[in-house]
Symmetry: C2
């Protein structure tokens, strides 16, 4: 799904990952985190795809909304499992969306 | 591949797409555009994945570098084919990366 975001400015968290070989519990937690993110104040949408890398982009109204989501207890526990078990490598980038263009046939 | 980007600030172009049923020539052009992007001044890296949506994030030193790539003739022709043939829908977001964190096991 392509996220239906408002006019910029807003924020995008670009989370790019390489998975490890130990994915026990990963799929359930990833799904739960997507659901939980949607309940957070300032959440605008999410887009996710995986090939050799996984890319998940979540969109937020403000940097404060991103910080609050980062500090969510269940999310913090999931990140700890990510670091110790599921991910071989990741990069997380916090960016401010300045312009956006769309097209639909 | 996860892009090896420098310390922020830099720019991310987040390109999220839904494909049409008419993909003749798409794979070759997508590959060519990735190669051509890498030759552009100010190019920093690219990440790409596809599930039900495709997400390609390219990273650039400046907004001017993004504009120059947008105006590249071969890229402009490819975008036209994208709009008329390959894509059912897309959203392109230009964002400024303000912070980045990495992790590697």
């Amino acid at each position: 799904m392509i996220a239906k975001t408002p006019q910029p400015p807003y924020y995008a968290v670009i989370f790019t990952t390489l998975l490890s070989d130990n994915l026990e519990g990963y799929a359930e937690t990833a799904k739960r985190m997507e659901e939980l993110a949607q309940e957070q104040p300032g959440y605008l949408g999410i887009e996710s795809a995986r090939a050799d890398v996984g890319i998940t982009v979540s969109y937020w109204e403000t940097l404060d909304a991103i910080s609050a989501w980062k500090n969510n207890v269940e999310h913090t526990e999931a990140r700890e499992k990510g670091r110790t078990q599921w991910y071989k490598k990741y990069v997380l980038r916090i960016s401010k969306v300045e312009r956006a263009y769309g097209f639909e046939n």
